[in-house]
């Protein structure tokens, strides 16, 4: 093995490690966490204060919807809407576990009732409608509730004539709702068509990870598409592609930088700059000739 190979391998291993969630290291206690990117032991509090970004290497850890909302919206301005909409099990689906049980477990794990929070809030004083996804709730998968709440947020933007912000984090469509999940792609995309026709600004923020049916619907339909640093974004999963084409893929495949290189996103933003970037974009779109 040459030195170059060794570095190459090390880099690939690092990226592979990022695929795993950050985990609280129980051997040390809840005070410390380990960064999967640089292996540093970090004080939990320090990481929290740094917007869940590693203070050592700058790696952006996954964050849940509530943390995201706290970081993105002016303090105390976010009002959750449509929280009364909850999961049904129309197909009475069961794999190795029933869908009902999976929902119950996800609710207990996340203290959320579904994989998205919709609402209205202010970003540096600008009122916007928003839908913020949560990967911790069944991999952020989009079933009927996610589709409905994203669409309702867009319709709220239409009603109030305000910009719409979608923050995505999803493995794709929720298989347990089968065709009904697929139709949420159509539903949300049709709602984006309405935003377009009303001339309203729609910004999407793609965060780690955004895949499948969410990528192939409202996530990539933003007038402005921002990818958060360290996010991986794609349509098909890495493994599926490797199995199909029978060759290994580059280490940086489907990273935010990779998407930028191929012209799929407008910009990459660090978490620290995300709020001001969105506010700046909203302000830049305040023009005289409104429809």
């Amino acid at each position: 093995m040459t030195v170059k190979d060794w570095f190459e391998q090390r880099k690939e291993m690092q990226i592979a490690r990022r695929a795993q969630d950050t985990q609280i290291d129980d051997s040390i206690g809840k005070l410390w966490i380990k960064c999967f990117n640089c292996n540093s032991q970090l004080l939990r509090k320090e990481v929290e204060e740094n917007l869940e970004v590693c203070p050592k290497c700058g790696y952006h850890f996954r964050i849940n919807a509530r943390t995201r909302i706290n970081q993105l919206f002016d303090e105390g301005t976010f009002e959750e809407l449509f929280g009364n909409i909850t999961t049904a099990d129309p197909l009475e689906f069961s794999d190795t576990e029933t869908y009902k049980k999976r929902i119950t477990l996800a609710k207990a794990k996340t203290n959320m009732n579904e994989a998205v929070i919709s609402g209205i809030g202010k970003i540096e004083g600008n009122t916007v409608a928003a839908a913020v996804m949560d990967f911790e709730f069944m991999g952020g998968s989009m079933g009927s509730v996610v589709g409905e709440k994203v669409t309702l947020a867009m319709e709220e933007a239409l009603k109030r004539k305000i910009p719409m912000i979608a923050v995505t984090a999803s493995g794709g469509a929720r298989m347990q709702e089968s065709i009904l999940s697929l139709m949420q792609m159509a539903k949300t995309s049709c709602a984006v068509a309405k935003l377009n026709e009303a001339g309203l600004l729609y910004i999407t923020v793609l965060t780690e990870p955004t895949f499948g049916g969410v990528t192939a619907s409202f996530a990539t339909l933003g007038d402005i598409i921002i990818a958060e640093q360290d996010a991986r974004i794609g349509f098909a999963g890495r493994r599926v592609i490797e199995q199909t084409i029978r060759q290994s893929l580059p280490a940086d495949f489907q990273t935010a930088n990779y998407l930028m290189k191929y012209g799929q996103i407008d910009m990459i933003s660090s978490r620290a700059e995300l709020k001001s970037t969105i506010a700046k974009l909203i302000n830049l779109h305040k023009t005289e000739n409104k429809k």
Partner: protein, 316 residues
């Protein structure tokens, strides 16, 4: 013709009847009565067999090597088909074919995913798995239809959008998403028919339509049963169970109010009788076009929006 595993008992009975006929002819014995009885029994068995197929048996018919392809249907239901090639950005994806044609004197833009019947053909058509450029070609043709006030007909038979490196680099997800959004904006009628496999976003990318139909033995799903089984059951061999759980048959989707109607297939499947399959398809499309023609553009769009807006089941 390929005989599917579950069709073998039927095939054997039919072979036996054929044998019996030959024997009676060569020996001069009159067994017409017995043959008639056997034939009647075989027919009843056949009807019962195809009326009670399991979802995975339906999938086998939907994937049948001899199943009519998009170009077969174009030949069966249209005249003057003129193919329009290319996405105008460097590629002519062969997995999606489109053009202008007439159906009963009405000019339409007709677009579909194309599969091959042989390995050689399948390599050309990439097994009916479009690249992003295929969806962009379709989009260009949607705009053409909109500009010249022609209804859009889409025929869908795809195992899904192609999962490849180049497909990701050229934004497979975005290409599909844009089609979903732009189909919502069309001011002409859109009629979509799932003719074989309707897998995932790759199928939906052509199916945001005013009317959505399925051929009787086609299937329409968020993920292939094999893919679902390997993710949820961690065992691809559980595809039969997944197919059952996913509710993917035309009857299931009609019940779930995802599709508008089921188009009957000839006994044994569309591949047994192209002409009947084509006639049934044409009849449905013509009827839908006549109904949709009456709607003004804004009403058409509004109803299309409401159609998809209603989809989804949740508690409130």
């Amino acid at each position: 013709m390929t005989i599917l595993e579950f069709e073998k008992p039927l095939y054997e009975i039919e072979e036996k009847i054929k044998e019996l006929k030959e024997i009676s002819e060569s020996s001069g014995m009159d067994v017409t009565e017995q043959i008639n009885t056997f034939e009647q029994q075989a027919m009843e068995y056949k009807k019962e067999l195809y009326a009670n197929l399991t979802p995975s048996q339906r999938i086998q018919i939907a994937r049948h090597a001899d199943r009519p392809t998009f170009l077969d249907y174009v030949k069966l239901i249209t005249t003057d088909f003129t193919e329009l090639h290319g996405d105008r950005e460097g590629t002519d994806d062969r997995a999606i074919i489109g053009g202008i044609a007439k159906i009963n004197n009405q000019s339409v833009v007709i677009i579909g995913t194309q599969k091959g019947k042989t390995t050689k053909e399948n390599l050309i058509y990439n097994f009916g798995m479009p690249q992003p450029q295929g969806y962009r070609k379709a989009l260009r043709l949607f705009y053409h239809a909109n500009k010249f006030h022609m209804p859009i007909i889409t025929l869908i038979d795809t195992p899904g959008a192609y999962p490849g490196m180049k497909a990701e680099e050229t934004a497979q997800g975005t290409a599909i998403a844009v089609n979903l959004r732009e189909m919502a904006k069309m001011e002409v009628p859109i009629i979509a028919v799932i003719t074989g496999e309707g897998c995932s976003g790759g199928a939906l990318g052509l199916a945001v339509a005013d009317r959505v139909y399925m051929l009787e033995h086609s299937y329409y799903t968020v993920i292939s049963p094999e893919g679902c089984a390997s993710i949820l059951w961690r065992d691809a061999s559980k595809a039969d169970v997944a197919a059952e759980a996913l509710k993917i048959t035309s009857e299931d989707l009609l019940k779930l109010e995802i599709i508008d109607d089921i188009i009957k297939e000839p006994l044994g499947g569309a591949h047994c009788d192209y002409e009947t399959a084509g006639n049934n398809l044409k009849e449905t499309i013509v009827k839908a076009m006549d109904e949709l023609k009456k709607l003004p553009a804004d009403k058409l769009k509004e109803e299309r929006y409401n159609k998809f807006r209603r989809m989804g089941v949740f508690c409130q």
